[in-house]
């Protein structure tokens, strides 16, 4: 297996006039669970569709599992994709959907898929449209896992699920990851649940990657500095990600910053949620006029 499950270089996608994704260069290590975080409309779905070969890039390249992302049978068979709102053929029974998986794939582990669904008490003879949202998501997951993919890509997999269904979905997903050791890339706009499930993070905002890396590394690299109110010399220690000022004191989120440089300043570690939110609050980068 290659070291990187996914590598992009200068990746961009334009729809008519607007760029949905721009200048995206990053890599996702194999065997990790990576979260792609960003507000709605940040370009998450576009990025994921580029990865699974549903879209062709306007600029740059995507390499998945060591090969350019295309839609050849070989490339497709190594990727499992779960689109937003887990679309399924609503008039098909679950058994028929499994048959689709079997007849449209080079390899399909019917037994595994059936076992998963049986464990969840999902009747195989029920039409997909008659299942609850959580059950539909589980069927879609079982179909994706049935391909025994090396890379599993999920677009907002839990956005439409109630809390119980969310947890059950995560349980199924994490169980599968533990069993198969595949690489997982999923997008989300909900932050609190991320920390328990992912170990790698990509933050996408305004069609650009604002931060990407190992969560442990990111948490050690970033520090929250609190001190007397100041608006000058913010760049003194490390890169300031975000500065918030109250009447008397200033809070800085800095990256690669050492100990607080000035007296009266205190450093403390930052939580993942605060870190992500700080990056999401950053304004769009101004285009430099040529």
């Amino acid at each position: 297996m290659t070291e990187h499950a996914l590598q992009t270089d200068g990746l961009g996608k334009r729809y008519r006039r607007t760029w949905a994704l721009q200048d995206c260069s990053l890599s996702v290590p194999s065997g990790r669970v990576t979260a792609l975080v960003g507000p709605n409309g940040a370009g998450k779905s576009t990025f994921l569709r580029l990865v699974v070969g549903l879209l062709a890039p306007t600029t740059g390249s995507v390499e998945v599992l060591g090969r350019p992302a295309t839609d050849t049978p070989q490339a497709l068979s190594r990727i499992g994709f779960l689109a937003q709102d887990h679309p399924l053929y609503k008039h098909f029974t679950v058994a028929e959907l499994l048959r689709v998986g079997r007849s449209c794939n080079l390899r399909f582990d019917q037994e595994l898929a059936e076992r998963r669904l049986r464990q969840l008490d999902i009747p195989l003879d029920r039409k997909a449209g008659a299942l609850s949202g959580g059950q539909q998501a589980q069927v879609a997951l079982a179909l994706a896992l049935g391909k025994r993919p090396d890379l599993l890509v999920l677009d907002e997999p839990m956005a439409s699920l109630d809390p119980v269904a969310r947890l059950e979905f995560l349980q199924a997903l994490m169980g599968a990851v533990a069993e198969d050791g595949m690489t997982v890339l999923f997008s989300s706009h909900v932050v609190p649940e991320l920390e328990r499930v992912c170990d790698h993070l990509i933050v996408l905002n305004h069609s650009r990657v604002t931060v990407a890396g190992d969560i442990d590394d990111l948490l050690t690299e970033h520090r929250l500095l609190v001190g007397p109110r100041t608006t000058a010399d913010l760049d003194r220690s490390g890169t300031v990600v975000e500065a918030t000022h109250s009447e008397r004191h200033t809070t800085l989120l800095v990256r690669d910053g050492g100990a607080p440089a000035a007296p009266g300043w205190q450093a403390s570690p930052v939580g993942l949620e605060d870190l992500v939110l700080s990056y999401l609050r950053q304004p769009a980068r101004k285009e430099v006029a040529a």
Partner: protein, 325 residues
């Protein structure tokens, strides 16, 4: 993949199959009755001198089966229904429901997915339209012998043309669905395109598939001449008359105004119009397409529609190849 295509489109297959079967059964029932009016074949009842039996048969044909023409004109939408109901949901339904993201991330590349779907459903379209036109061709056989096969209620429903129309409707609906991403609007757009192209081709192109033949002769005293229309025979009542008119003795065409003036002059003089024309050396002419060109014309018409269908499907393929969805 074949199974998936069948499973996804079996509802349309059942419905359209039923429609064609119902039409076929109905035409078989009324057709057998119609055919029985001419025990020796309708071919014996052409010409001027008709036997008593033939006159009765033709009268009964007009009385009892006079609705046929209107009914057949209505049926000219059936090829559209066949093609469009297969084509409209082909891509649009996947885009509507978001299932394209599921369908095209299995191990079947989207181009193969498209090829299988277009192949299978295009074949079903052509097959159903072929059965439909075969039934009509059989049904209309006595009428064809008596009235010719170039009328809108014959040419448009017989032979190869309906299959061409159906394929065009199929391609138009598929392409509209791929562009509009919705089945129902795609159906509406395809209907508009279908009607427009059909009217345009039938009214404007079809008469010119081959150069018309032209007959010119001096108006004879006993000819059934009308103002502007010599009602001249081509020698075969099955020919397709495109145009007719008069020229003066020098060969210059006479306008309707000219011939109307002559008609009033003839009345004033108290002579028959044809005699008046004959006296002045007026010639009558007719341009027509001979009846035996029917199959050539069918072939050209079908090729046009099949060609348009191919162009539209090429557009769909192009959109697929660019991966713009």
């Amino acid at each position: 993949m074949t199974w998936l295509t069948w499973r996804q489109h079996r509802a349309e297959m059942y419905a359209l199959g039923l429609l064609v079967a119902a039409i076929g059964a109905f035409l078989l029932a009324v057709g057998l009755q119609m055919h029985s009016l001419f025990p020796g074949g309708a071919g014996q009842c052409t010409g001027i001198d008709l036997t008593e039996a033939c006159s009765t048969a033709i009268r009964r044909l007009n009385d009892e089966h006079g609705y046929a023409s209107k009914m057949l004109n209505l049926f000219s939408l059936v090829p559209f229904l066949i093609g469009a109901f297969f084509g409209a949901p082909l891509v649009a339904r996947e885009l509507e429901a978001g299932t394209w993201q599921f369908a095209w991330t299995q191990s079947v590349p989207r181009m193969r997915w498209l090829a299988v779907k277009l192949g299978a459903l295009g074949f079903a379209t052509a097959l159903l339209a072929g059965v439909f036109s075969a039934v009509i061709t059989w049904y209309r056989q006595p009428m064809d012998v008596l009235d010719g096969r170039f009328g809108a209620d014959a040419f448009d429903l017989e032979g190869l043309a309906p299959a061409g129309y159906a394929l065009f409707a199929f391609a138009a609906a598929t392409a509209a669905g791929a562009v509009l991403r919705r089945s129902l609007p795609a159906l509406a757009v395809a209907l508009g395109a279908f009607l427009a192209v059909r009217v345009l081709v039938a009214g404007w192109l079809r008469p010119n598939y081959q150069d018309t033949q032209r007959l010119v002769e001096l108006v004879a005293v006993g000819d059934p001449a009308d103002v502007g229309n010599p009602r001249m025979s081509t020698g075969n009542h099955l020919d397709w008359t495109i145009a007719s008119g008069y020229t003066d003795s020098a060969g210059r065409p006479l306008s309707l105004y000219d011939s109307a003036a002559m008609y009033s002059a003839a009345e004033k003089e108290g002579v028959k119009f044809s005699a008046y024309l004959h006296e002045r050396g007026v010639q009558q002419w007719v341009e027509f397409q001979p009846a035996e060109r029917f199959w050539t014309f069918q072939l050209v018409e079908t090729t046009i529609f099949a060609g348009l269908a191919a162009a539209l499907l090429a557009l769909v393929v192009w959109r697929f190849r660019r991966r713009v969805f």
